[in-house]
């Protein structure tokens, strides 16, 4: 199929019959008001309070958003000003975002794992005038740097626990702000409607800072037009054929464009209920409680779900293991049919029914995904084998590709015609191409951001005069218009021997091992490839336990000879798939269990290549000695 079309042609999403919807609104505040009118007392979101799910109706949220918005106006907020939110993914985050947008403000998110100096940079660069913080822990970050932030006029705290005796004129509680808002609304009940007309949908409404593996984070300026263009493409692409409504779980940081879209804006558009997890560690418990109809997660979470099943299975009895083994085999056969667009034979269908009844449905129930109609993955590459495994269970796991600079929109894999390994085709209204020479993927469309705040040169580098966004991803397109990413442009390794190597191919294969959480392949201008590996603590511990390999803490686990051998055997398994010059010769296991607070990880828990290379320079050098 390949080779008959120009590999550098422009591929348009509309070629595949994908059409953007005409939306009855021009901005998120308008959409929100529309849904409040339509859905009224139906539940919009849930969050646990002292262990019990508390539901908020659309009407309730509308009242709260109104109060917060009016409260901000009453303390002096002016349209176009920037407000930052420093909190974990929670109901208040969404309330504040909607309030800020409703009064013509610009809402910027700060990662709750960021340290005080980063908070300082993000508030200063964005010129934030108000700062919402979750609790005393986040407030303390502000207080450390308060002197450096003269522009911040007030800090508003969601949860005042532990702050009863704290008194600072710069700090008020969210409840106090809402009270101010209620008073203000009595005099000016139409305030929000008036204010929301203060800005045009083409102006910046949301700031999303990209983590930036090198240099300072850049603030991507996103307009209502950007957001709405992505919302308009949903019903024909990723959400094709899915009913409206349903349940969702939100747990990734809302300052990241993926969860902002899929965990906040899209549910408003689709009228879905959003359930906020208690904290990032309870995702899997909450998943079983909520049993969502759609689950979006980054590959790392999907991998974890898979390895949980693998672990659970190893503790099951022989009969159960045999039943599962057979069922997954049948499921995989069905999955292959689906992928190739064939109808499974009658006998296979029958066996699949039996397999579902015997094992697969139980597995789905165990992971809280028995109601999932579609799984979405994005923000990082996912192993095709993993997609096949979920498909075997009966969970279509669809990949979308987008980035902050495309407001999360981009490609999607069609419902009929998934191709594991491919990121899919461009969405409606989008044009994409592979640049000649560099093979960089470029995109043009209404979802491309306005630019980077305060950085016209960076903006010009990224979005060219013709409106093409230079994504920095390298890849190719096949004759059917499916795009494939081989790597980030700047990550491509050219070995001392002159061979071009795309490290992410090797890394993704390594990550499919239940024992490896993440890996960074290194070898630019070197004689051979080496890899830095972060082990999966739970699975490797179990491996050691089952084989009576003594270890005490995490570091001693990574030093055990058998564990080193295990990881090496996983590397050799991957090596076998690649050419001789692409073989990994040595490896190093990270000695610390990394958390989101560590610099080495992105907020979506990926290892940052450049940082890892710098921080573990010594270990890397040792591998070349």
């Amino acid at each position: 199929m390949n080779g008959t079309h120009d590999p550098h042609r422009i591929v348009r999403g509309d070629e595949f019959g994908w059409k953007a919807e005409t939306l009855p609104y021009k901005s998120i505040p308008e959409l929100f008001r529309l849904r409040v009118k339509q859905l009224g007392d139906a539940t919009m979101m849930r969050q646990k309070e002292l262990g019990i799910w508390r539901a908020y109706s659309w009407n309730e949220v509308s009242t709260i958003v109104g109060e917060i918005g009016a409260g901000l106006v009453s303390i002096g907020f002016e349209p176009g000003e920037v407000i930052s939110v420093l909190a974990n993914t929670c109901r208040e985050w969404v309330w504040c975002d909607l309030a800020v947008q409703s009064i013509g403000g610009v809402c910027n998110g700060i990662y709750p794992t960021d340290a005080a100096p980063q908070v300082d940079y993000l508030c200063s660069d964005s010129r934030s005038v108000y700062l919402f913080v979750e609790d005393d822990e986040q407030l303390d970050k502000y207080l450390e740097i308060a002197e450096a932030l003269p522009l911040v006029r007030r800090v508003i705290v969601f949860d005042m626990e532990g702050l009863a005796s704290f008194d600072d004129p710069r700090v008020i509680s969210l409840d106090q702000l809402r009270e101010l808002g209620r008073i203000h609304l009595r005099q000016q009940p139409q305030l929000l409607e008036e204010r929301s007309r203060a800005r045009s949908p083409s102006e910046v409404a949301v700031l999303v800072y990209t983590s930036g593996t090198t240099g300072r984070p850049k603030g991507a300026m996103i307009s209502q037009d950007n957001i709405c263009s992505v919302l308009a493409s949903l019903s024909t692409t990723l959400y094709e054929g899915l009913p409206r409504g349903g349940e969702r779980i939100a747990f990734l940081p809302l300052c990241h464009i993926a969860e902002r879209m899929i965990g906040e804006f899209v549910p408003i558009e689709r009228g879905s209920i959003v359930n906020f997890v208690e904290n990032p560690e309870t995702v899997f418990e909450n998943l079983r409680e909520v049993r969502p109809s759609l689950f979006f997660a980054v590959p790392r979470v999907w991998e974890k779900v898979y390895s949980q099943v693998a672990i659970g299975l190893s503790e099951a009895d022989k009969l159960q293991q045999a039943a599962y083994g057979w069922a997954v085999q049948v499921g995989r056969a069905v999955a292959e049919c689906t992928l190739e667009g064939r109808e499974p034979s009658a006998s296979l269908r029958l066996r699949y029914k039996l397999a579902q009844w015997l094992a697969l449905n139980n597995v789905k129930r165990m992971i809280g995904m028995d109601r999932v109609e579609v799984g979405l993955t994005g923000a990082a590459p996912i192993s095709p084998d993993l997609i096949r495994w979920f498909l075997a269970l009966g969970i279509p796991l669809r990949e979308g590709w987008g980035m902050t600079e495309t407001c999360g929109g981009g490609t999607a894999t069609p419902r009929q015609g998934m191709r594991p390994g491919s990121i899919g085709r461009p969405g409606p209204g989008l044009e994409m191409r592979i640049a000649a020479g560099t093979n960089e993927i470029q995109l043009r469309g209404p979802n491309v951001i306005l630019g980077y705040l305060n950085q016209p040169e960076k903006t010009a580098e990224t979005i060219d005069a013709d409106g093409w966004l230079h994504t920095g991803d390298v890849g190719h397109v096949d004759d059917d218009g499916y795009f494939y990413i081989t790597d980030r442009m700047k990550d491509i390794i050219i070995t001392a021997g002159g061979k071009n190597i795309t490290p992410s191919e090797l890394e993704n294969d390594l990550k499919f091992s239940p024992y490896i959480t993440d890996a960074v392949v290194i070898g630019d201008k070197r004689a051979y490839l080496v890899v830095i590996v972060m082990i999966d603590q739970e699975n490797v511990e179990k491996f050691a336990q089952d084989r009576d390999i003594p270890f005490s803490n995490y570091a001693s686990l990574t030093q055990a000879k058998e564990v080193q051998d295990l990881i090496w055997s996983e590397i050799e398994r991957v090596n076998r798939k690649f050419a001789r010059v692409e073989q990994i010769k040595k490896f190093y296991l990270l000695q610390n269990q990394l958390t989101a607070e560590d610099d080495e990880l992105t907020p979506t828990m990926k290892l940052k290549r450049k940082l890892v290379e710098k921080k573990y320079a010594q270990a890397i050098e040792a591998m070349y000695r």
């Binding site: 609790d135 005393d136 822990e137 407030l139 303390d140 207080l143 450390e144 626990e161 532990g162 005796s165 704290f166 511990e541 050691a544 336990q545 009576d548 390999i549 003594p550 270890f551 005490s552 803490n553 995490y554 001693s556 610390n592 269990q593 958390t595 607070e597």
Partner: protein
């Protein structure tokens, strides 16, 4: 390398991949640790971390689901507790558990029931009275009439009466005043120095334990998360924050929230 091997020869107690459970509840999930002869080793951990379970598994009160316990090079996994005592390993249980209706003296003699050399037993009883003079004064009283601290002294002395090479101490400070705790720990150290008795000490009073012990393990939900010399452990951020209560009070002077544990 030879030095390390030499030290390993000195290992008196070794646990490898020990898992123990109470019914379906796993209390320890794969614990490996070593105690060298003559050392005081401590296992720190909060309530329910599995500290007492480790000691019970060592002394044979609880049989592990997997893993092995070796003492002086011999396998003692799931051996009968009385046989383990005979090999020179005594357990001072949590909550003292003295025999309340027996006199102090009889309690001590109960500790020596495995021994036949009456003279040696008498000498050891004398020694116990030297370490804890109050026990001599109360020798003929029922143990149940002693104060908590005195009962703890009796429990330690009773364990000593088996002339152990290794003593397991389960929270000797439990329910005692700081002053009494200090006194008891001083004597524990003296016993260790004077008699060369190796000690494996389980404590919630991390400050005290880290001061008297040579080496420490930190246990969290049945797993070891840290393992180092006590001098090093005392300086670790997480130990300061979660075990020693020495946190910086933050910008507001009254920090309530806890940092995330990283165990580095």
């Amino acid at each position: 390398m030879t030095q390390v091997a030499g030290r390993d020869d000195d290992v008196i107690l070794a646990l490898a991949n020990v898992e123990s459970s109470y019914g379906p509840i796993k209390a320890i999930r794969g614990v490996s640790l070593k105690v060298r002869r003559g050392e005081i080793v401590t296992v720190l951990g909060s309530n329910g971390a599995g500290k007492s379970t480790i000691l019970k598994t060592i002394s044979g009160i609880l049989d592990p689901n997997r893993g092995s316990v070796s003492f002086k090079g011999g396998n003692i996994t799931a051996l009968d507790p009385s046989l383990i005592v005979r090999r020179g390993l005594s357990h001072v249980p949590e909550g003292r558990e003295v025999f309340p209706l027996l006199s102090v003296r009889d309690n001590l003699l109960m500790g020596a029931y495995t021994r036949v050399d009456r003279d040696a037993v008498a000498r050891d009883m004398e020694m116990a009275y030297t370490y804890f003079p109050i026990l001599r004064e109360r020798a003929l009283q029922d143990a149940g009439l002693l104060s908590g601290g005195q009962q703890q002294m009796l429990a330690i002395s009773r364990a000593l009466m088996a002339a152990p090479e290794l003593m397991l101490l389960d929270e000797p400070s439990l329910g005692l005043s700081p002053k009494l705790t200090r006194e008891i720990f001083e004597i524990v150290v003296r016993i260790n120095r004077e008699r060369g008795t190796t000690m494996l000490l389980v404590e919630q009073n991390a400050n005290m334990a880290l001061n008297v012990a040579d080496h420490g393990y930190v246990l969290e939900t049945g797993r070891i998360v840290m393992d180092d010399s006590c001098a090093v452990l005392r300086e670790k951020e997480d130990i300061k924050e979660f075990y020693l209560g020495k946190k910086d009070s933050g910008v507001r002077g009254e920090r309530r929230w806890k940092k995330k544990k990283t165990w580095r």
